[in-house]
Assembly symmetry: none
Homo-oligomer: 206 residues x 4
């Protein structure tokens, strides 16, 4: 993420005085990553980040508007910038791989962070917009690509609305991620892709 966040916009002019320290910026993001790892999202307060990073609170507020925005950038930096788009020649295979890849990342480390970000987004409309743009939309785009490739191959009913399919697939993912009532595993990936492609309706000929 390039991240000249809020306020800094349109600093095309000379930028007098001491330039903003990239070192600070990095130290803050590093502190966030460290705290997420060691204490969890709940313990992540602006004050704790400032302490951990050896930075004044004001410096954090100069670059970001809220805890959630810092975390979002720290998270985006480290892992999410590239969402790989599989291309195996089959829509079903592509979707399954895509979902399993996403599941794996969530199960490994990023699950708690994503859950925390979503919680903050729900309570903070301004951040919700940002998160949709830099996190959600990026992933929807990747999935959209997969679907488009399938459509080109003629694997998709032309009447199907891609956005709805994306809502179904990501919806199922987020549902289990947030509620934790069942695992995000390969079986689940296969099942939701199966239903979304084939439907659950009984068919005479089967």
């Amino acid at each position: 993420m390039p991240s000249p966040p809020h306020g800094a916009a349109a600093h095309i002019k000379t930028a007098r005085g001491r330039p903003r320290s990239e070192g600070c910026h990095g130290a803050i993001l590093g502190a966030v990553a460290e705290l997420l790892r060691s204490e969890g999202y709940g313990a992540l307060t602006i004050e704790a980040v400032a302490r951990q990073a050896g930075v004044g609170k004001q410096t954090i507020y100069r670059w970001w508007r809220s805890r959630a925005e810092v975390v979002l950038e720290a998270y985006a930096n480290h892992a999410a910038s590239r969402v790989p788009v599989p291309d195996l020649g089959s829509l079903r295979a592509d979707l399954e791989v895509f979902m399993v890849t996403a599941f794996n990342r969530l199960n490994d480390v990023s699950g708690p962070t994503m859950r925390g970000l979503m919680a903050d987004a729900v309570l903070d409309p301004e951040f919700l917009v940002l998160m949709r743009e830099v996190l959600i939309e990026r992933r929807r785009g990747a999935l959209r690509e997969v679907l488009a490739r399938g459509a080109q191959r003629g694997e998709l009913d032309p009447a199907a609305d891609g956005e709805v399919l994306i809502d179904l697939l990501f919806g199922a993912l987020w549902h289990r991620l947030l509620l934790q009532h069942a695992a995000l595993d390969a079986a689940f990936a296969r099942q939701i892709v199966g239903v979304v492609l084939d439907g659950a309706r009984a068919r005479p000929g089967n």
Copy 2:
């Protein structure tokens, strides 16, 4: 909700001391409803509830463990106790009606509350368990009933896993509710039910 909440559990025996006042209990829930309506989930603090209800803070903590638990009970009391299960003779119709009914409730008033509850559940594992039990599971049960009726009628592929279908349908609902990137309307209900039943795969004969 029957709700002899925490600590009071299983006091079938004598129940000594002054009994807890149902009046207080109700006043608190009423205050929560009022504050949710007038100020929103964010402004809902224990202190504000106590003030509004004319009650000591300790009295709230005596009945509930956290803000989220009070809200959950207030919400469950007023609207959620009865989840209607449509029975129109067709699985597709039943599902569509079920989803549209849910959407309407969310669009009318309970959307913000549900979003707030989910945010708290994500940050508080203890509450997550409670919320799954009294809110989520109740709704899943209703949907499960609808699916079971369809299966009995032979409308469902016997190989389909009901829980997965439920995750897909509720996942899509929660996804749009939380991210607010698109409306929860009848069209969306029709679309997701359509995909879940028929699949999005292109079919030669169609």
Copy 3:
């Protein structure tokens, strides 16, 4: 009192960050004085002081450890810094004037405050030490001076222990102040000084 109170100790070095606001410090002491006057020692809570001074509670705790310490400083500021030491050429006259002066101050305004401070000191050993240092010892010193002058003039029995005389005189003062069983008036001053100098023993020659 110069008063860079607790925690700030020995900051001879640079003192980074925003310096503590003398304005706040003064506003708090002013609020304490005002509340003591209008509501009395009992009504003086940290929260009331913060409210009256337009200050956060934390700011009070940053400067002082307890209610009693704030009051002590407020009191010391306004009245006690200078304990006048009379010098009339006679030990008896000096002692009587000293005691009457002290009585007058207590009868006018500072009586209730001194009683409150003593009550807190009795229940809080840490504060007791502080109070002895900045309030009691200062006054004992003044009385010690008076006695020393008398001794120089040869008016005191060289065998007499000054500290014991001070305990007797201040003891009598505090006794009536705390128990309120009799007035602190000029007659009492004359009487205790008389006994302490002359004794109450019957003497043949008298």
Copy 4:
């Protein structure tokens, strides 16, 4: 102390209903003594006493008005009922023995309790009256007796005011007890009695 305390006054009439339990009364006083010993005056709350005594709070309030009143009675019960009045044939000896006896009791166990009672008395005028009556006045009376005996023997200057002497002697005692700046020991007893009887003034002939 006979102690049919407050409210019960003048029940000449039949006294219907269940009579007050002497067992409770005793259990409460015992709990107070125990708590004073083990936790100190500061930790002594009505709730703690009720818990320790296995008694409802209301029962305590039925007999006494405040914490201080319970403590006062517990203290008076166990030690203070009899203030011994020495009679050795000499005023000086009687006074010294009286003071040393008092000092010893304070140094042994009752010091903290007396200090706590005084702190409460200072903050609670109603209790101050009670404490003067049942604690202070009793002791002043004993000392008054000693002085009267001395006067009868012609050992006291007839012009001396006994109350002032008492204020001086008890004042010195309380002063050191409350401020803890020096020990209450036999030397101090001898010194204050010496000054009060002989005076500290230099005398030509001595």
